[in-house]
Symmetry: C2
Subunit: 214 residues, 2 copies
């Protein structure tokens, strides 16, 4: 094949893009390195010039996703135009919109065959989000919305719970069990209020007020 040299950053990007697309379409295990390189028309060796292993591209892909999540949450959390309740609601809204625009991705991450990826997410997400949530919760405590003895632990609990529950939510969504889906959503807010020691129903109240003002 004719040889084309590109800016390393570009090439690396091409490889990650191709891998991401194929992993999403066919799964990690089912995608071969040969598939990835064929997609952009380079030799197999080129792949290994940029990545030490197949696993390493997966890391690069998840890092990209996690960076996106981090920036989205940080953007909401750092704003001083809203109180902590509003911020937390917006963060959940951000998660939900991310899930909707990337439905394939959500299904993918929860599929059994992609245990590998799911695991990477489970490791990285809490460590990135806990400090951000922690700050919002502490802000909420100062604002007297919340009353909680362990703000950092509360953050961790909320994050891991939401993550694990989304797993179960996803199975109900695939079975079109709307009743259970609604129950999970309602229960999630109910328990988050309890964990944070917030007034019962305050999240729903705020959420509908926020919707009305748009």
């Amino acid at each position: 094949m004719t040889r084309t040299v590109k800016d390393p950053e570009t090439r690396r990007g091409e490889l990650i893009d191709a891998a991401e697309e194929l992993f999403l379409a066919n799964g990690y295990e089912e995608t071969t390195v040969a598939d990835i390189v064929r997609k952009i028309g380079v030799a197999q060796g080129t792949f290994y010039h940029y990545f030490k292993s197949k696993d390493e591209v997966l890391d690069a892909i998840t890092d990209r996703w996690i960076e996106e999540i981090k920036e989205g949450v940080a953007g909401i959390a750092s704003g001083d135009d809203s109180d902590s309740i509003e911020k937390i609601i917006r963060v959940f809204g951000f998660f939900s919109s991310l899930g909707k625009s990337r439905q394939g991705l959500v299904e993918y991450v929860h599929e059994g065959r992609n245990a590998h990826l799911h695991n990477k997410f489970e490791r990285k997400v809490p460590s990135i989000l806990t400090p951000l949530f922690s700050r919002m919760i502490e802000e909420g405590v100062r604002e007297r919305f919340f009353d909680v003895r362990y703000p950092e632990m509360a953050a961790l609990f909320i994050i891991v719970t939401t993550g694990a529950i989304s797993h179960i939510y996803e199975t109900y969504r695939l079975n079109e069990n709307t009743e259970k889906m609604n129950e999970i959503t309602a229960a999630t807010f109910y328990f988050i209020e309890r964990i944070l020691g917030a007034e019962q129903g305050i999240f729903i109240k705020y959420a509908s007020r926020m919707e009305a003002s748009t």
Copy 2:
């Protein structure tokens, strides 16, 4: 090699035992089917006579573990010699003792290289334990210890949270960060009390009373 015919149940058991031992020692990916059959001195084909794939033995192994957990919890939950608070404390005690007697297993399940297995656990455990926890929580509501609108969801939340937190607890344990470990334990009870709408500190109070009476 000389041919020895055994009772199929025995042979199947031998294969599962050998696979479990090797998976625990070296990891799932790192163990080959050839290793498994070599260990008990049968041909590779024999393995595939009993299992459709390498993944299927892993299923058999996790099913065995999960059965053990289920029976342990069911035994505690069904007893009518204790109230719901005591039962829940005993269940957590059971988890902790399981973790101690099988330290290798716990570390193993949480190791990155065994994402596959971790995922299997995460799928199976909640579906098995939720009904059992649900009943204990409903019992506690009748006994006026708890006050919670969604008992089944509370069960689910507590189970997935405990599972995910144990993951994080494990990393602190490996780093010998005793402070964080204690904080997690205290926070876990604190938040479980909040989720269940129980009196603050009731679990600790009961736990120390139970210890005193032994």
